[in-house]
């Protein structure tokens, strides 16, 4: 524990008022749940939920060479079409993952990167270091923005009442739209496997959006959601949690995200190391595991195949939509093939499980 006080989002009082049970999340005082993780999870799968994601970071990249810079610090081929975002990993020189982020093209010379809360300051320092040879300006705008995620099959109808233009957005699209006397960024993105939107606005604008959602959300089945359901939803959907499932010791290949690496696109930070490490081969890969019997796996549970330990789970939980325990872990090659029978050790007992490829359930997006 450090002694610095926990940071609070612009919604802190509103979250408490809505019944949020607050916890320390990477130095932020955030709600782990409101009514309950199961109810919130099910609301997002069946109707819609709203999450405060104001702790996440915003970095603007602008200038003549903004796109070239964005290509340089990301391993994916980054869209230069205004209104489009691209998910990618930000790599160190050795190919290790510094962060995963979506970078949106706002215009020919202007980009917005949405980065993880715990890594926002480190990302910005890294970008600054890399920017020396580029005609770009960087703006760490995280303190000037709050952000809400509205997720679930009913999210378009609800968000459409407040931002009619949002309905025209494709997946990973972004639009700058008027809201509460200023401009807000409306993105068709999310971390749940459901359709939905994320809206970044000023602190006051974010609070106004929360209140408008709460006022109009009833008929759409909107419920406030915390970090607990955010985690069960994203794990079922097969999304990485940076810091738990990926960090600077892992490459995108090991994190089972080889699809975000575009070696053919030309030079980018980490490219040489990735080529070298890929040729050498990997000893572990992030692999999904689903229990075949009752039990709730947790971070740190050992995974066995034929009595031999093949790795440990880095994220694991009870999956409400599957009514089963699921997890992901860096496992040895003999467990990579989907359907491999393994065992997960929980409270000293080995529980039957099998490996799973891709999302644990079919995503709606």
């Amino acid at each position: 524990m450090n002694d610095s006080p926990l940071k609070r989002t612009p919604l802190f009082d509103a979250l408490l008022q809505a019944g949020g049970r607050m916890v320390d999340f990477h130095g932020w005082e955030m709600p782990v749940q409101f009514a309950g993780i199961l109810a919130e999870h099910q609301a997002v799968r069946a109707a819609c939920g709203v999450f405060d994601v104001s702790h996440m970071g915003q970095v603007f990249i602008s200038g003549q060479e903004a796109h070239r810079f964005v290509e340089h610090v990301n391993c994916n081929r980054m869209s230069s079409d205004p209104g489009k975002g691209t998910y990618a990993h930000i790599l160190a020189e050795d190919g290790g993952i510094l962060d995963d982020a979506i970078t949106f093209c706002l215009g020919p010379e202007r980009f917005l990167a949405i980065v993880n809360a715990a890594t926002a300051d480190r990302d910005f320092a890294w970008f600054r270091k890399q920017a020396a040879d580029f005609a770009v300006e960087l703006d760490h705008a995280s303190d000037r923005y709050g952000m809400l995620a509205v997720q679930g099959p009913a999210a378009p109808a609800l968000v459409g009442e407040l931002f009619p233009a949002a309905l025209a957005l494709p997946r990973f699209g972004i639009a700058e739209l008027p809201w509460a006397g200023e401009m807000a960024f409306v993105m068709r993105t999310g971390y749940t496997g459901e359709d939905g939107f994320e809206v970044a606005a000023s602190p006051a604008g974010t609070l106004a959006f929360w209140e408008a959602l709460r006022a109009k959300g009833g008929p759409h089945g909107l419920v406030p959601c915390g970090l607990g359901s955010r985690d069960t939803l994203r794990l079922e959907a097969g999304y990485l949690l940076y810091g738990a499932d990926a960090d600077e010791t892992r490459t995108p290949y090991e994190a089972n995200c080889g699809w975000v690496v575009k070696l053919q696109k030309g030079d980018f930070i980490g490219r040489e190391a990735l080529i070298r490490r890929k040729e050498a081969g990997f000893k572990e890969k992030l692999t999904g595991v689903r229990l075949l019997a009752r039990g709730v796996p947790r971070h740190g549970c050992a995974v066995f195949r034929d009595g031999r330990k093949v790795g440990e789970l880095c994220s694991a939980t009870f999956a409400p939509s599957l009514d089963a325990g699921i997890g992901v872990g860096y496992l040895a090659p003999e467990a990579w093939e989907a359907g491999t029978r393994v065992e997960v050790e929980i409270h000293g007992k080995k529980i039957a499980a099998e490996t799973v490829r891709g999302p644990f359930r079919k995503n709606s997006v």
Partner: protein, 126 residues
């Protein structure tokens, strides 16, 4: 029939209700609220010996695991399989259908070391 007002409580939030030398045990309503969304319960087997204050069952919510400490010592004579199949029963009815198991008490005097409802309420609130 028992309800929370005539149960005896351990500091660790289990309750016991004695009829003769058999005590029905479970977790308090306060505990089920704190643990929230219970998704898995592992109970001892009938015939197992349990000891007051020692862990003998596991309760898992979506977020965390919690131990169940035996409120009294003795032999497990019946277990509530319904909560294994449907753990949400513990949240819905901690003092009713959500009971855990029954213990044939080897030391009935241990009940005296447990709190009555009023005393438990005043500690659980802190």
């Amino acid at each position: 029939m028992y309800d929370e007002k005539n149960c005896r409580f351990a500091k660790s939030h289990e309750w016991a209700f004695a009829e003769g030398d058999v005590a029905t045990v479970g977790i308090s309503d306060y505990a089920q609220k704190e643990i929230s969304d219970i998704v898995f319960v592992e109970l001892p087997k009938a015939g197992a010996q349990v000891e007051q204050g020692k862990p003998c069952a596991v309760i898992e919510s979506v977020k965390a695991a919690a131990d169940f400490f035996a409120p009294v010592s003795g032999e497990v004579v019946a277990v509530n399989d319904a909560i294994v199949d449907n753990p949400a029963l513990v949240n819905q009815s901690a003092h009713g259908e959500g009971w855990f198991f029954k213990i044939k008490m080897s030391k009935p005097a241990e009940l005296e070391a447990l709190m009555d409802f009023a005393a438990y309420q005043s500690t659980a609130a802190h």
